[in-house]
Amino acid sequence: MLSTAIMAVETTANPLVPNVWELLVTVVGFAVLLFIVVKYVMPAFEKTFAERTEAIEGGIAKAEAAQAEADAALSEYRQQLTDARTEANRIREEARAEGAQILADLKARAATESARITEQAQVQIDAERQAALVSLRSEVGMLATELASRIVGESLADDARSSRVVDRFLADLEASSQSAGAAQ
């Protein structure tokens, strides 16, 4: 009975009835594969992962150190730059002040010089005028005397007299010109 039932199962190949050999092959195959994975594959992969993580973290630490160093250098440079700017400003200010000083000095010197030149010119002009006046006076006297002697027909060669006449005339002339200058 039992064997015929089982025979029936076998002949219709009930898809749910396992073949024990296949079952055993599967279990053994799985076990062999699991052994290989545990023993070789997984440790190798995990070790690689760990090494890579370490390398990356080491790299990050190194990068952080470099970053800190760069930051320090940068702040130092910034400080130096600020110092240099301050220094430059100071120098510029000094130069400007010095320039102004020089300019003022030059102006003052130029003013003094011009005053001196003016004064000298004035003096020279006065002297020349004085000289001209003197020479003019003698010359005009001589000419006037000559002229008068020709007019009156007599010699006015008497120097003393003629000199007196001329002086009086000139004195009158000066007086009149002075009064005219005063009236103006």
């Binding site: 190949a13 898809p15 009835v17 073949n19 024990v20 195959g29 799985f30 992969f45 992962f49």
Partner: protein, 273 residues
């Protein structure tokens, strides 16, 4: 195409659909049938593929993990991505915390074992998802059943059996109903569905491939212009199903591993539920 060679397709009495027996190929070595009915005689293609999958996975990951460079090459990157996917997306995210590393090899092995064996079904000539045979599906689900029950017992002692079936904060009259449901759901339905889900999806996909292949062979060989013309439609539909099947193969490997991780997590933190 293996399917074209199936004997059931070219009989003169019209089309005879292939049966599940047609998906069991003749054995390579006649061997071991004398122990009982459930011991089918012989070393078949399915077992050969199972062993092949172990060799493929082991070889690939041994080579990929061997050179251990800080900046990985293509092969190492592929291996690391695959390992990292199971380790982080399944192990770490589901089990979490400090304990997950202990279970990563189990999940990793399960994922690639199931994945490669499923993909066999999409490769011409190999053309059989190994888990479409129930023995393999039962075996791998049983491994995880034993694993998570073991984890629970180790972590919580015999109290685990109570923790697993008696939800906290439920009044006792309701417990009379809830406790049997929990026992059935956790200790019977869970491992059964864990294995049947994988097995059934793979078998169904494989049957569709077989059916479509033999149907096309029959239609082309029938001598009728109409049937030969229609076979093109079957071929197009078959290609679409083939693509869908490939997707399901990957998806089921993921689902199987994900559920295994969820069961392990449930056993680890049974007192928190």
């Amino acid at each position: 195409m293996i399917a074209l060679a199936l004997p059931a397709t070219t009989t003169d009495d019209g089309f005879i659909a292939p049966t599940i027996e047609d998906t069991h190929y003749p054995n390579i070595l006649p061997w071991g049938g004398e122990y009982g009915v459930m011991f089918e005689a012989g070393f078949g293609k399915q077992m050969a593929l199972m062993i092949l999958s172990v060799i493929i996975i082991a070889t690939f990951f041994l080579i990929a993990s061997r050179r251990r460079q800080l900046v990985p090459g293509k092969l190492q990157f592929l291996g690391e991505s695959a390992y990292g996917f199971v380790r982080n997306s399944i192990g770490k995210d589901i089990i979490g915390g400090r304990d997950f590393m202990k279970y990563v090899p189990w999940l990793f092995t399960a994922f690639f074992f199931v994945l490669v064996n499923n993909i066999f079904g999409a490769i011409p000539l190999l053309q059989i998802p190994t888990f479409s045979h129930p023995g393999s599906a039962y075996a791998i689900a049983a491994i995880f059943f034993v694993l998570w029950v073991g984890i629970g017992l180790k972590k919580h002692g015999l109290r685990y059996l109570k923790l697993a079936v008696v939800p906290s904060g439920v009044p006792w009259p309701i417990l009379i109903i809830v406790v049997p449901i929990e026992i059935i759901s956790n200790f019977i339905v869970r491992p059964v569905t864990h294995s049947l889900r994988l097995f059934a999806t793979m078998l169904a996909g494989h049957l569709i491939v077989t059916l479509a292949g033999s149907a096309i062979a029959y239609m082309v060989g029938s001598g009728s212009i109409l049937l030969q013309g229609t076979s093109v439609l079957v071929l197009l539909g078959f290609i679409a199903m083939y693509m869908l099947e490939a997707l399901i193969m990957v998806l089921q490997a993921y689902v199987f591993t994900l559920l295994a991780a969820i069961y392990i997590e449930g056993a680890l933190h049974a007192d928190a539920h």
